[in-house]
């Protein structure tokens, strides 16, 4: 449900003119909800940025997500994070 909720909140932010990107843990849910931009990550539920107390991994996920914000590609856009 979290992946759907994120996509629906994301739509509200995008509609305010804010460029949004979300993390996806369940790709099949994100494909159905179709938010503007999402980075699918191969982590378990509860671990959207990888691991606790692993700033380097968290940072890599964040930077990969931010790349979608400036990507010149058709929307909706789902990209897979490469660990």
């Amino acid at each position: 449900m979290c992946n759907q909720s994120v996509g629906l909140i994301q739509a509200a932010f995008e509609n305010e003119g804010i460029v949004t990107v979300s993390i996806s843990l369940y790709r099949f849910v994100t494909e159905k909800v179709r938010p503007p931009r999402a980075l699918w990550v191969p982590f378990p539920l509860g671990y959207p940025l990888g691991e606790p107390h692993n700033p380097a991994l968290q940072r890599r996920v964040i930077l990969a997500a931010l790349e979608l914000v400036t990507a010149d590609e058709p929307l909706p856009l789902i990209r897979d994070f490469q660990p």
Partner: protein, 158 residues
């Protein structure tokens, strides 16, 4: 990797039968580099301050949100999510795992992004009936973000 096969039979059956809501949006576009943008953070990890009410995990879900000041002491955040569908220990140990305030303070200091907004938005993601989320609470949080001058938002589920 989050696999549906790892979920309980009840959750698997529910998720297979559930009719997901398609999000409805108009694309926004950046008009300046990220290094000049103010970033807002949104999570559905149900974080709340000790002084804020927790979330009401009734069956349909709690569409309310808590405003988290990004200068708060992250170690004091509570996790209001009690869903058995995921492991809570990671976000309880390190809130940055879902609400990466410290990571963005670092990115601001390095000039990768312009600024981190003074408030973040925390929802509880277990919302099976998202009507009020779509019509009332998500637009309310988004309007706050716009009023704050947020230009880019990162959203994380759990």
């Amino acid at each position: 990797m989050a696999e549906l096969s790892d979920a309980s039979l009840l959750v698997r059956s529910f998720m297979r039968a559930y009719r997901y809501t398609v999000s409805n949006w108009q694309p926004a576009r950046l008009t300046k580099p990220l290094s000049a943008c103010k970033v807002g953070l949104v999570t559905t990890a149900a974080f709340h301050l000790p002084t804020q009410p927790t979330f009401d995990l009734k069956l349909a879900g709690d569409p309310s949100f808590r405003v988290i000041p990004t200068d708060c002491d992250l170690t004091t955040l509570k996790v209001g999510h009690t869903s058995p569908s995921f492991d809570h220990t990671g976000i309880a140990q390190d809130p940055n795992l879902a609400l990466p305030i410290t990571r963005f303070q670092e990115l601001v200091a390095e000039g990768v992004v312009g600024a981190l907004n003074a408030r973040a938005w925390s929802f509880c993601g277990s919302i099976a009936k998202p009507g009020e989320l779509i019509t009332r609470t998500a637009p309310e949080a988004a309007a706050q973000a716009r009023a704050d001058g947020v230009e880019v938002a990162l959203l994380t589920p759990v």
